[in-house]
Structures are given as C-alpha cells and as structure tokens.
C-alpha cells in the first residue's frame, strides 16, 4: 500500500529527465515566440534548414568542435596511457599523483587566463591549434588519474612475465597491455572527447571568439537574444554525447569507485 506512489514518482523523474531534451528540440523549431503567447507564431524546420547554409555558421562550428574534440581525445588518450605507466610505477608516484591533480581541479577558465600570455608568445592565441593545446592541458591530468587504477601490481606482473618469456617491449604493449586496456582506452577517449566538447571558458579565452565551437555559439546566440538558434546549437551540442553515453555507460562508473 505504502509503495503505490513509487511508480508515479519514477514516471515523474523520467519526464523530468526528458524535459530539457524535448524543450530544446521544440524551441529550436520555433520562431516569433513573444511573451505572453503560449504558442509560437511559427513552428517548423526553418531554423534547422539554416544549418546547411552559412547564415548561422552552425555547420562550421559543429565541424570545428568535432575536429577539436577528436584531436584532444586521441592525443590525450594515447599520451595519458603511456605517460601514466611511468608516473604510477615511479618510486615517488604518490607525490606525482598529487601534482597531477592541481591543473585538473583548477577552473579551466582561470587556468587559461593565467596561461594566455604564454599562448600569445607561442603564436597559439586565437587559433584552433591553441584551443586544442589548451584543452589538451586540462584533459591530460584527467587521463593520468583515470589510468592510475590500471597500472597495478597485476599489470606489472603480466609485463614481467611477458619479458621473462622473451617478449620485447613492443610485444608487451601490443600483445598484453593494450588488449587488456581496450575498454579503459575507449572510456578515456569518450570522456576526454566530452571534456573538450563541453568546454566553454577556456575556449573563449584562448580562442578569443575566433574559434567558434558550439559552446561559444550558444553563448553568442544567448547574448544576441536569439534563443531559437541558441536552442538549435544546444541540440547539436547534446545529441552526440547521448550517443557516446549509450555506448560508454557500462564502463564509466566502474572505474570511478
């Protein structure tokens, strides 16, 4: 008797979760929705059609975001995997681990503001390469911390056994370590892709508005009070992660606790 409220509450929770997605899609299909009207003057695919034109620059932003996020995710996952092995088998691994946390925990936008001088000097200010490098700097500590659970005594024993049986360093990686780390590599790739995909503050500082990723576009449209294009940008921003999360969800939390 007491538990009859549960299905209703669960249904309410499901609606609550789906509401932002539905609202953004509906808002992206509207235009001329003036207060206090409850229904918009136009409802259709007019806004979505502009993705294919250069009017909003959304397709270009989407492509730039994909290129940046893929570059960050690939470089971070590969470098994080190999460097984390050195860090976590080092005699001072606990101290190195603590040092890795500093850039990870600092607000990326503040980190970027303090680093911008060096990016100007290196010619990395206001271009895609600079944004990739800056995002790599905040995603790299995540990868290091993420792979820390992989490099345990068991893995060391596997690598030692391979060496004892005559395996080269390359064979240890290609035949033993990389196959065993496959699922973790995949999760790290997805996670660092999302870190880059969701990043706004750091991108706005290093990209100075010239590198217009989707998050930058959302803000631009909010500033212009163009909420319909803002919602459209939000849709482009949230649906790729939904697909990634679907494949990713089995592994994410197993690695966190």
């Amino acid at each position: 008797m007491k538990r009859y409220w549960k299905p209703f509450f669960l249904s309410f929770l499901v609606l609550l979760v789906l509401f932002p997605f539905t609202y953004m899609v509906l808002l992206s299909l509207m235009s001329g929705w003036q207060f206090p009207d409850f229904l918009p003057s136009y409802f259709g695919f007019k806004n979505w059609a502009t993705i294919m034109t250069s009017e909003g620059g959304l397709l270009q932003s989407f492509v730039i975001s994909v290129i940046i996020s893929l570059s960050v995710a690939i470089v971070t996952t590969i470098s994080g995997f190999f460097i984390s092995r050195v860090v976590y088998y080092h005699p001072k691994s606990k101290v190195l681990n603590v040092l890795a946390y500093f850039p990870y925990i600092l607000a990326p936008v503040v980190f970027a503001a303090c680093l911008s001088f060096f990016f100007i000097k290196l010619g990395l200010f206001g271009n895609v390469t600079g944004v990739v490098v800056a995002q790599f700097l905040i995603a790299f500590p995540y990868a290091l911390i993420f792979f820390s659970s992989f490099w345990n005594q068991k893995m060391k024993s596997y690598a030692d056994l391979t060496a004892t049986l005559g395996g080269s360093r390359l064979q240890t990686y290609t035949k033993v370590l990389l196959p065993m780390a496959k699922s973790m590599l995949l999760v790290c790739f997805f996670q660092t892709f999302l870190i880059s995909w969701f990043e706004y503050g750091l991108t706005s500082i290093i990209g100075i508005g010239k590198v217009q990723t989707l998050t930058i576009k959302v803000f631009l449209f909010i500033k212009e009070a163009n909420y319909y294009y803002g919602a459209l940008s939000c849709c482009l921003l949230i649906f790729p992660p939904v697909v990634l999360l679907y494949f990713n969800k089995r592994y994410v939390f197993k690695k966190m606790v």
Partner: protein, 283 residues
C-alpha cells in the same frame, strides 16, 4: 638504453602536467605583485592590499562556497534518497539509460535551459500568465540573476544529482550492499537501522573524495553563473575573469591577485585530500 623510456615519460609528464600549471601560477603571482604587466612599473604590494581591503574577493568566495555547499547538500541528499528508494527500478534497461541522459547536458546548456524556464518571459512566466497569476512579465518573481542564486543552485542540482545517483548505484553494486543489508536484517536490524548504519555510511565513505572534488568544481564554475548569476557578488571564476579581462589596465593586477588566492585555496584542498598521510589516508 632501456632506462631512457621512463625518463622520457617523466619529462613529458613534467612538461604537460606540471610546467603549464607552474608557469600559469608564477605569471599570475608576478602580475599580482606588479613585476610583469603592461602598465606595471615594479614590485609592489598595492594590488594585494587593494584586494584584501575591498573584501570583494572574500565576499565572492563565501558566496560561491555557500552556493556550492547548498547545491552539493541537496544533490547528495537527493541522490542518496533516490538510490535507496529506487535502486531496483533504476537497474532496468530503459531506466538505466534514462539515468545516464543528464550527463549529456553540459553546463552551458543547463544554464540556458534554466534561464528559458525561470526568466521573466520564460516558460513558467507564460504558464503563470495563462492561468492569470500574473498580469505582466515584471510580476513574475526573480528566479534567475537573483540575490539568492536560486537559478544557479537549481542548475547545479540538475547537473550534480544525476551523477551522484549513478555513482551511488554503482557503489551499491560494487560493495554488495544488498547482501550486507540482508545479513544485517538476519542479525536483527530493522530497515531503518540497515539504512542508517550500513547503507548510508558506506555510500558516503566511498563517495567522499568525489563529493569534495565536486564541491571544488562548483566553486570554480563559470558558465552557469555567467548566465544565471547577478552583478554582485559574483561567483569566483566570473569575478576573476571580469577583473582580468577588463578595460581598466590598472585593475588587471587585482584580477591576478584573486586568481592567485583562488589557486592557493584549491591547491591546499588538493594537498589535504590527496597527500599521503601516516594514518587514515584517504587514498
């Protein structure tokens, strides 16, 4: 030859993981003391004194900490309740996917969505008008860009709560809390004691580092308070960037003072959390 690879790895770790942070901190420190900077002339304490005397940084720090605390308390409390009440339902295929969906929404979208719902011409204002509860937009209460940071808190809760639900569900499974609960019941514990003495302590113990980390993340949050925050006081990151990016070149150094103070607070927390301790080490 064999030992060269670990050395290269360590050098790369220092170059990517440590050097940029150290350079950023040293540059901010030098700027805050007037050693570097376009209009600065030499070493001075005046920017530090100005920041410490104005009290804006500390006001912002307390404001940010309060928002982060309220959001974390509501999120962790809500997540614990949902996990304990609905864990069996949330393990079903459809609901388990639904539970992951909020993770696909970045802060910038959450901020925009909450603004769309709660602003004076937003979704709820239109509903209120349709029901005749308000006559014009200004009659609708300030729920965004407001003094009590209602919009920011709501945005943070919608971002953090789902994450902790998923985390607690996995702790439940990994720590075999169902088996432990059955064991406790067979030893005479009532359902209330099972929750209070077994489930809650274990869930909180396993998640405590992430709770502190999330608190720090919220403290330095930028996008959400930028959309939903008020002019004064502002949350830390918004205040720091406003000061550093302002047109008054004389004031930029004060922004770097705030950045240095914020970095020291965050770094001290990291040291407290993760530096190996003799007894009861957290990790």
């Amino acid at each position: 030859m064999k030992n060269r690879i670990p050395h290269i790895g360590l050098v790369l770790f220092v170059l990517i993981g440590i050097l940029p942070f150290a350079l950023a901190f040293i540059y901010a420190l030098l700027y805050s003391f007037g050693v570097v900077g376009v209009v600065n002339t030499g070493f001075t304490f005046k920017f530090w004194l100005a920041v410490l005397q104005s009290g804006e940084f500390f006001k912002s720090l307390i404001y940010s900490a309060l928002i982060a605390f309220v959001s974390m308390a509501a999120s962790v409390g809500g997540a614990l309740w949902i996990t304990i009440q609905f864990r069996q339902n949330l393990e079903k295929k459809f609901l388990s996917f639904i539970a992951y969906l909020p993770l696909a929404i970045p802060g910038v979208v959450t901020g925009f969505f909450i603004f769309q719902l709660l602003s004076k011409s937003g979704f709820f204002a239109r509903i209120s008008y349709a029901f005749g509860w308000i006559r014009e937009a200004t009659d609708f209460p300030d729920l965004v860009n407001d003094t009590f940071a209602l919009g920011i808190n709501l945005a943070f809760i919608t971002m953090v709560l789902p994450f902790f639900v998923l985390l607690f569900l996995n702790v439940f499974k990994n720590e075999r809390l169902d088996e432990l609960s059955i064991l406790a019941q067979s030893l005479g514990a009532n359902p209330r004691q099972v929750v209070q003495r077994i489930q809650l302590p274990i869930l909180l113990k396993k998640a405590r580092i992430l709770i502190v980390l999330y608190f720090i993340f919220l403290l330095g949050s930028y996008e959400v308070p930028l959309i939903l925050g008020q002019e004064s006081p502002q949350m830390l990151s918004v205040l720091i960037i406003r000061e550093i990016k302002q047109y008054d070149l004389d004031k930029i150094s004060e922004g770097y003072v705030a950045a240095v103070l914020y970095t020291i607070i965050v770094s001290a927390t990291v040291l407290f959390l993760f530096l190996p301790k003799r007894k009861n080490a957290l990790i």
